[in-house]
């Protein structure tokens, strides 16, 4: 069942809809990094990267420590889990529905069950 509300999901999907932000998330999956480290692979200014980081932070996908001098960014894997859960839950619901529909259709067509069991 889909228990998660749409809002955090919207925020996560929207944040991940951008290729730069996906690249940042991929980088952070390997470990925490500072803004300067994150900016290095991109032909982008630090303010440009900061804008993307703010979007990611608002979506809950990353967090930044307030106290540390270089404020390293940290990937919040559970927020990714939320997006992944939504997709897999939807898939499972349809799979299970169709399993039941398969049984129902067999019930509704009693004449067809016998030849199939006989290997026809």
């Amino acid at each position: 069942m889909t228990t998660q509300t749409a809002d955090p999901l919207d925020a996560a999907f929207a944040a991940l809809a951008d290729p730069t932000r996906r690249a940042i998330v991929s980088r952070l999956a390997r470990g925490d990094a500072t803004v300067t480290e994150l900016a290095a692979p991109f032909a982008m200014s630090l303010p440009g990267i900061s804008k993307h980081l703010k979007v990611l932070e608002r979506s809950g996908l990353i967090s930044r420590r307030r106290d540390a001098q270089f404020r390293p960014c940290h990937l919040e894997a559970t927020a990714l889990d939320g997006a992944l859960d939504w997709i897999t839950t939807n898939r499972r619901v349809w799979d299970e529905r169709f399993d039941k529909l398969d049984v129902l259709l067999a019930d509704l067509q009693p004449a067809r069950k016998r030849p199939r069991r006989a290997g026809g």
Binding site: F13, A17, R22, L80, I87, W94, L101, L105, L108, Q109
Partner: protein, 154 residues
């Protein structure tokens, strides 16, 4: 029997499910639009969809309402949708009112007793309407799930 689709269809944020049933197309379509039948399969495993709480008005603008009840704890998941397109016995399209999610069901006759049902579930809200989302990467939620799975699994 299940053929699990991952084909990108060009629509952003779309999940694709497909299953082949050994039954005529008219019968499969009828099951998807008759509350008596829906009550027997609409709830996934461990979930019921009581007959008296299913409403089907299968015509454009008509409502499609269900309540799924969790057998374990009685919690309820009401869903209200409105049909956008109804073309018996080949096509059903509805949009869920609360989520904006669009579900397109195609019924393809593979033979007199064989029907493929293709579900295209589009997650409409903002995220997937952005131009960058439509640029390619997210054209299939299946690919997106694989991507996220790779990150989460670390």
């Amino acid at each position: 029997m299940a053929e699990r689709g991952g084909a990108a269809t060009g629509h952003p944020g779309e999940l694709h499910f497909s299953r082949v049933f050994e039954a005529p197309r008219e019968l499969v379509f009828a099951c998807m639009t008759d509350p008596e039948d829906l009550a027997r399969f609409w709830g996934p495993a461990g979930v019921s969809a009581p007959r008296d709480r299913i409403t089907v008005d299968a015509r454009p603008g008509g409502v499609f309402e269900t309540v799924m009840v969790n057998d374990a704890d009685g919690s309820e998941y009401p869903t209200r949708a409105v049909y956008d397109e109804v073309r018996a016995p080949e096509l059903l399209v509805w949009t869920e009112s609360h989520s904006g999610m669009r579900v397109r069901s195609e019924f393809v006759a593979l033979g007199p007793q064989r029907t493929e049902v293709r579900i295209y579930q589009t997650y409409v809200p903002k995220a997937f309407l952005a131009p960058e989302a439509q640029a390619g990467f997210l054209s299939s939620l299946d690919r997106f799930a694989a991507y996220l799975g790779g990150l989460v699994a670390r």
